[in-house]
Symmetry: C7
Subunit: 70 residues, 7 copies
């Protein structure tokens, strides 16, 4: 998988991704949407590896994002 | 529910949402409006799960938002 | 009261509003003006619920705002 | 005095204003100029109520401003 | 290697690069993509020199970047 | 001296100015240039009143600036 | 040397420059490129005066920059 950042996000739609935030929180979920600001929509998301309670759909505002690992 | 972040907000109008802020405050309310900056209007909003006193309408400036959970 | 954030501000002109800032300061005043950045003009404004001395007109730069409660 | 924030600044030209910054510094001076970013020009400005030494003309970059009290 | 910053990134596609973030984290990986915001795509990326577990593809949001060393 | 902030900078070209930064550092130098972001060029600049070693030409990125005192 | 900030950068291409960052890190290197955001390319760069190991080419994202001393 290679290419420009938004192309990689496009290819990752429907895949499980790990999203690290500036707050050090880490979300894991299925990438259901994104936009050019890296605002993200995750489905079946949980916070961290500690298996926090699953949240259904989560919108993350892009300016909080450090990295996205498809 | 899937799609681009603002589409998910559009679909969530009238629904109860949880909004997490960079300050760690968490608002729960009915999503009554939004714009492209993720500025939000919540109705019947309260802060946190501790059932703080209900506030009628609350406008949240989008740059404070970490996540929105419809 | 519902609608997009700036519409709610428009409807709130002349009403008493509570403005929470990122500094945790809280202003209470009559909303006399605003613009698209959420820069605000408050009249008969005071800081906080502790009834600090009333200030006449106060311009608040929008990037400090967390929430506005009409 | 009411209206949009920049209109209130326009009306305040030549008046003494108090400018609060994000650093908690407070400038008092005569408003001699401004622009759309709320960059400000103060004349006969001093810092704080403690009557620090008067500075002649002071340009303040707008992104530091919390509030302006005409 | 010289030239404008984005030209240097273009020439570095396919090379191993070290990316320092504002959080002090340091990523090492093969530069697979970038855009004008310095959003980056790294392949075979690891965090730091301590050989943390290899992550496959990592998207880094540009506003976190301090420096990129090709 | 009065007028819009950038006009005051224009009038101050060639004058000694004091520039306060968000880091609390204070530069004193001759204003040799500026642009609309308040990026500045100082000549014969020194840091602070403690007469730190003189630096020849210094470019200051505007987003660090709190105030400029001509 | 005088003029607008980006003109001074243009004149400094090929010269040794000292770049101070908001993190307090200081880079010394030969200015090989820049753009309008003050993103910089340094060659033969080292961090600080302590003669840290020389790095070949370093791209610095402009929003980290406090000052550039040609």
């Amino acid at each position: 998988m290679s290419g420009r950042p938004l192309d990689v996000l496009e290819e990752s739609l429907g895949d499980r991704v790990t999203v690290r935030l500036k707050s050090d929180d880490e979300y894991v979920g299925t990438l259901a949407g994104y936009d050019q600001h890296m605002n993200l929509v995750l489905e079946d998301a949980s916070i961290g590896a500690e298996a926090a309670p699953v949240e259904d759909t989560t919108i993350i505002r892009g300016d909080n994002v450090v990295s996205i690992i498809p």
